[in-house]
Amino acid sequence: MKYIYSNCLGSFVFDEEFRPLDKRMFSKEELLKNENSLEKNEWLDSEREFIRKYSGDKIFFIGFKKEKILNVVTTQDPKKLSHVSELSIFQFEKTRNANIIITKQKIKESTGNDLLAMKSVSALDELNKSINLLAKKLREWYELYNPEFSKSVSDNERFVALVLEKDRKELLKGLSLGEDESMGADFSASDLKPILGLARDIKALIELKKQQESYLESLMEKACPNINATAGAFIGAKLINYAGSLENLAMMTSSKIQLLGAEKALFRHLKDRKHKLPKYGILHEHPFVLGAGRETRGKAARMISSKVSIAAKVDFFRGEFVGDRLKKQMELRK
């Protein structure tokens, strides 16, 4: 009777007293290839060779295997598993080195397009916040010099562009005001310089934001075309971010997707039913939800999340593009 066992370092044969009889250590190249099979519980070439070599004896394989091989009994008896794993690990050092190689490879392979989209939308969020914050500071500062113009332009991007393009006289002329009619103080060139410097940097950040937005749009179109069609690049990427991965999102029910982003309100309701159940999370930002009347917002969110849920599954399992069909259904339901 013989025992056969494999770990990440090699395949081993023992007799019925667990005395080591034979072994086949894996080379560095075989390490990663065999790891794939071992993780999926598939038979290794080395194991098949040993089974052939010792076919005269009764063979017990210690470990987990998906398929059965004729005349080989597989066992996961913890006592036996413990015994052979101890015997074959030798010094911990060898198994640690193998584990580090394997783990590094798995981490490398774990980065996918959905992760890129998640990081991109996350950075975009911060960019937006920073641009708005800095623009606010710029206005407060600039208003000491030219408050009338700042008040006349509410859009930050336009404000920054015009401040850099035209001088105060021109800007006030556009408001039919002379410089002496303004409440703004007269600044020297050296006092004006840092304000314009800040404006220049904000303008650069706005350019960066546009580049990031177009990158995210093309990434989402390529990686998740169906989510892109139903939720849009920005909200779609945010949904994936909340879910943790495209796979997670694809496995969610549409009611869960509907409430992604509303966790605080959701758990508040679950703990005390007196609080209202939220009707939407991030999906609140979707144009269909924003555009719906107060009464129909919940229905809109529910409808969108059901389409997004289908879209996510198609994207994850890489099916054909059904996005336009889904989008049409959404338009009709509107």
């Binding site: 993780e39 598993l81 640690r96 783990t103």
Partner: protein, 218 residues
């Protein structure tokens, strides 16, 4: 510096372990030098094991030379201190599911010869049994609904007879609406079927609605 429990020291009402990597900091911890040894500050708000020690857990099964299986290793904070406690003759198989945190774990493991970092799902021992060996201690800190089941599954396969197990139970992960006391009682009942309960502590004020169980495989 006084030895409080096995491998855990105390000074000025703070906990420390004796570092096996002199001159290296991993998590910005405070280091105290004494008699040629370096002691790393072990923070109970960052580690449930430390919180358990402060609350009075004496017997953990962790000794110099122990083999440990750690499920839910995350960035490796507690792992690094267990690494100090078991010393260079001991070893730790550190497992976590998320690539982002295992990446940090690899950086820690590369500097400590007794840690093997593994990216795997603790819920599926058939997917990583070939990368580990049987151990003396099983430590688990996983926030999942079926955390008790995961623990018992792994204990059955990998924990040696007479070995110790520790599980940090997060009540909110199991059921956010039930009272923690009830949940801990249910977990206790589930564990008692297969293991002997050695100790149990609520981890307040260091962690809300968390408890640390110490068990022994009969």
């Amino acid at each position: 510096m006084k030895q409080k429990y096995n491998g855990i020291f105390e000074s000025n009402r703070m906990l420390y372990t004796k570092s096996i990597t002199h001159g290296v900091k991993f998590f910005e911890e405070d280091i105290v030098k004494e008699n040629g040894e370096e002691y790393r500050n072990f923070n109970p708000t960052r580690s449930k094991l430390a919180a358990g020690a402060v609350k009075g857990i004496k017997e953990t099964g962790l000794n110099e030379g122990s083999g440990v299986l750690y499920l839910g290793a995350a960035h490796g904070y507690t792992v690094s201190f267990i690494s100090d406690i078991v010393g260079s003759k001991g070893f730790i198989f550190a497992i976590d599911f998320a690539p982002r945190v295992v990446r940090d774990l690899v950086f820690v493991a590369e500097k400590r010869k007794n840690i093997a970092p593994i990216l795997a799902d603790a819920n599926r021992p058939e997917s990583f049994f070939h990368r580990i060996a049987a151990v003396d201690v099983l430590y688990q800190d996983i926030a999942q609904k079926n955390q008790a089941e995961i623990f018992l599954k792994n204990a059955a396969l990998f924990l040696k007879k007479g070995g110790y197990g520790m599980i940090a139970v997060k009540a909110r992960s199991i059921d956010v609406t039930k009272e923690p006391k009830k949940i801990f009682q249910e977990v206790k009942n589930e564990m008692e079927r297969e293991m002997e309960i050695v100790d149990y502590r609520n981890l307040e004020p260091f962690q809300k609605a968390h408890a640390l169980f110490v068990l022994r495989k009969i």
